[in-house]
Structure formats: C-alpha cells, structure tokens
Amino acid sequence: MFYIRVTVRDALNQAMDEELERDERVFLLGEEVAQYDGAYKVSRGLWKKYGDKRIIDTPITEMGFAGIAVGAAMAGLRPICEFMTFNFSMQAIDQVINSAAKTYYMSAGRQSVPIVFRGPNGASAGVAAQHSQCFAAWYGHCPGLKVVSPWSAEDARGLLKSAIRDDNPVVFLENELMYGVPFEMSEESQSKDFLIPIGKAKIERQGNHITVVSHSRMVSLCLDAAAVLAKEGIECEVINMRTIRPLDAEAIETSVMKTNHLITVEGGWPQFGVGGEILARIMEGPAFNYLDAPAVRVTGVDIPMPYAKILEDNSVPQIKDIIFSVKKTLNA
C-alpha cells in the first residue's frame, strides 16, 4: 500500500486547486485569500496560479461579500466563500440562512444556490471568547443547508471536493488546530475525483464495549482516549461523524445496537448542541432499547472561552474527561 503524509491544510489547498482547475465557474472569495495566501495559508499559491478573477480579496465586510457570493451562485457561478473564522460569519448569517439555505424551497425548485461557506470553526489556542465559538449546532439546525465537519486530511480533501461539486449551500467547518496535523493518505485518495459522500459517518476505530461519537478535532482526542482505555481492556468504537447535517443516525444506531453504550464528544457548548441532537435521535429510534446505560454528552464547558492557558485547557474536553465519561457510562 502506498501512503503519503499530507497536512489538513495541504489537503484543503489541493482540493480547492483541483476543483478550480476542473470547473471554470468555481472561484474563491474572502479576506486575505489572494495576496496574503490566506490568513491561515489554506489558499497558498492559488492566487498566483489563478489570478484576480478567480481568487478575490474582499474588504472586511462579511455581510456584503457573503451576499455577493450568494448572488453569484444564484446567477450560475460556484463560489467558495471563506470566513476567516466562523465567528465572523455571524455578521453574515442572514445571507447564509435566508438568502442561501431557504431559497431553493421558497422558489419551489426554480432557484438553486451552489455555494460553499468554509473557514475555521470552534476553539483555537489563546484567541479568547469572541474567536472561539463552535457553530456546528447553529448551522446544523437549519433545513436547506448541508453542514460538514472534517477531521482528517482525507476527510478534508474528499469532503471539500464533494462540497464544491454539490449544487446546494454547504457550510464547511474546518479547525485551525488541525490545519498543521499530518495524516497518511492512500493512493486512492490522491485521485482528482476522490470524493467522500456528504452525510455518511466513518468508523475510525472498531470496538465492542462503547460507541464514542465525535466530529472535527475531538476525534483525535477520542482515538487517544480509546488507546489508553484499550490497555485496560475497554474497546471503544470511535465514530467520526464527518457530516453534521444530514446526520448519519443510522451509523450511530447500528453501532449502539452492538455496543449498548454511547457517549458523544464535541468542543461546542452543551445546550442545544450536536450531542443533544444525537441523544434525542437515539431515544426516538430503534437503538434506545439496546442501551444498558443512559447516553451522555461530553462537551465544552458552558462558558465563554477564557484566555489564560490553564482556564482555556479546562474549557474544552480533555482526554481524561473522555476516559472518565466512558468508565462512568460502563459502570452505570
């Protein structure tokens, strides 16, 4: 088997490069995406290759440029609209929801909106409260949107390509702390038409004792926790959601019906969050009768993100929190 090591950043970069090459209607706009090579260097080299027409630096006006991106999508182009972080998408959220997500329905199928909104989401390191919010639950709430949350480099590549080729509005939630993390990628995944379907979760690690469901960076922590637990004979089945909406409830249910235990792990706040949705679905579906203990959520602490390192570290789930929750659930 042939593997190469690719960082998440490079996987995103390559995916965009290939899709820009493949379809002339695809273009990228956002703050610093062109001449700065991207605030987080995700679009490095693209402006040099494709020029001003296809890689567009915008002024710091999210509501305006998100609206412009949506209008361009309505008129036949395929924009990738970058938010420097999803915290800034709040300025533009009306365009994402009311202009993009709802339009195909309101027009009874006359007007489609093939757009991707992408950028880093959730906690970073030391960027404090206004720059650390996770938007998976807010966007995941809305019909008309697809919401994707990749973890690995392979996820990033395959899901971004799928998102760009999708004829509908896709919110693509990256993670800044994952950008520099390298992953082994198969030869197959290097194909220009390598796509990962939106809406399908992946079992990253098989196990029989408990189902651990997560998305984005937290998947790494779940796998680390699983490795520690394995030494004590506890085998976790770690599911990488890959997509927030539509949620692959079937994959989770199938796993729970095998393991009889469930915890969810996310970086976002607990109330009305991704974990809350998963637990509700399990309650309502066939897997409930297979639970030997209540399903629980491991989440970020219900506070705005503090700055000091010791406080920040204790504001998001740590490996020990996952291990603790697994053991509590199994001993219930």
Binding site: M74, A108, G109, D167
Partner: protein
Amino acid sequence: MRKMLTIISNVLRGSASRNGAELVSEKCDLHKLEEGPPLQAVLTREEGLQYYRTMQTIRRMELKADQLYKQKIIRGFCHLYDGQEACAVGIETGINLSDHLITAYRAHGYTLTRGGTVREIMAELTGRRGGIAKGKGGSMHMYTKHFYGGNGIVGAQVPLGAGVALACKYLGNNEICVCLYGDGAANQGQIFETYNMASLWKLPCIFICENNKYGMGTSVERAAASTDYYKRGDFIPGLRLDGMDVLCVREATKFAAEHCRSGKGPILMELQTYRYHGHSMSDPGVSYRTREEIQEVRSKSDPISMLKDRMLSNNMASVEELKEIDVEVRKEIEDAAQFATTDPEPPLDDLCNHIFYNDPPMEVRGTNPWTKLKSVS
C-alpha cells in the same frame, strides 16, 4: 444622441403623428456625472400602448389583490405596488429580458415585467399549486428567469444583486443587474458594503432606490440624515428623477445600462415615486401621512394618467382605444383571480420537496418521531 432624437422626431412629425411623439422631460439631478440621460425621447404609439397596458395590468392586479386580501383569500404579508407602476415598467423597457433584476418584497409588479403571468402571480398570493412558486413562497418570494425575487429581509437583496452582476462580468456575457431597494433600506449597512465592492470591482450593477417617501410609517426625513439617496453612493455616480414618468424612467435606465455595459462600473438611480396603499395590507397608511397628500398625488402625478394624457394630447391613441385596453386588462385580471381562487392548494406530498437540488430522495422528520416524510429535489 440628442441630435439623433430630434431628427427622428422631425421625421415622425412629418408623417402621421399617430406613430409617435417627441417628448421632453426635465433634467435629472446628477451626482458625479457630467451628462445625464437625454432630455428628449421618442415614444412610439406601439410603445405607448404597451406601457399603458402593462401599467394598467399591474394597477388592476394589485387592486384585485387588495380585494382578495380583505376577503381573507390572501393572507400574511401583502405589499402592494399601486402608484409605482412607472418604475417597474420604465426599468424593464430600458434593459433586456436577458439582463437580471432583483428587488425587495414589493415585488408583484416586477414579477410581471420580468415574465411572470398574472395568473401565476395571483395563484401564488392565494397559495395554490398553480402559483409561480407552487404556493411555497407567497407574496415576497416569486421568481422567474433572471429575476431573483422577491426578498423579505430589508437590504439583503442588494449584495445579492451585486453578486449577480459579478457573475455577469465573470462570464463576460455583457449582461447587467438591476438591483432595487427602497428609501427605508437605503440606510442599511450592507448596502454601503455593496457600494464599496461594486465600485472597487467595477461590477455592472444599476442600484435603484425607489423612494416612495416612507419606510413603513417612517418618513424619509425621520429616517435619513441625508435624503439625497442618489448621492449616498458617494463615489458612485448617481441620478435622481421623477419615478412617476415612465419615459423618464426608461431613458434613465437606458443611460445607466449603457454606463454599466461600457465597463464603467456601477451607477445609482433614485426614482421619486409614491405608493397609494400603506406599507402592507395591515397598514391603512394614514396614520403617518394625510389623505390629502395621497389624493394630491393621485390627481396630479398618477403614472398611468400621465401617460394617458400624453398619448391623447399627442394624438397617439383615442379614448376608445385606451378604454378597450382597460376592458381587456380587467378581463385578464378577473380570469386570473378566478383561477387563483379555484386552483387547489398544493398537495401535502409537496411539503418537504425542494430542500436540495439535484439530490437523491431523502427522508424528513415530521412533527413526531414516527412521522417520516419524503423529500425529492
């Protein structure tokens, strides 16, 4: 340009003057423009009759909607356009159907001028399956080819319109986008963000402010520190004109379209107009303005009367001819209203459709966990 118009009009005068007339209008107020639209324009008989018919159709359609709303056959929001007909009709005659247009929620007139039929507009208002959006959009969400609604969020349509213009420039198709908003929306921040980007990137976008003097119940003086909406684009050239004069609107739109198509970037037009109805059907429209004011506009500046008087005084049509058009229009509206009140509502099967485009069928959760509904593209 002016010379050519005079020559044409002399030729026309020479032959039967029923074929057309040269009409003179007042100079527009200009902002950062050396020259404005021509002061003289030729109106042919065919054009005059067509504009008359279309404006009358909009007028009668809106009045019928008023009736149906009061009978509770139309529900929810209904923002009527009567009084402003010269804007929609004049703009459309200044551009091509292959150009693009987007507006806010007072959109029934534009849905018509952009290719919708009275039948499908009215059936959309009554929420029937024959509606232009199959009953799923309602008054504020009607779409046709190159017409992007119908938008409910004040001001949001302006960046969208600039995005459409960006696509025109990107694709190099020589098309432009007309992007409308009202005096109320004119103070929205996202509009200024859009002015900036449209100007920076020279987008072929005509921004048009339909100034009907009131944003809901707030008069322009109470909402805007500067009511010179045609100047609010600052670095964007602008013109202000009488939006009740369909010919003025046409000539200004042609002028603006030429400006955009020649690659000069965006331009801003302010049309001074008036709405007879209140903001919407739930607003009687007299708590913040006087009945005398409304009556004065009706008697002195009604766009349809103005066109009619011009055509009659220039011998371009007879009273009987115009009456005949009125009768035809009335019939069309009656037929459409009949359809709109008898067409069935959308089937419940359609409830969850049109979530995603080009996707395989999917399941949508109903109101309870046991109800799983089907959704197709």
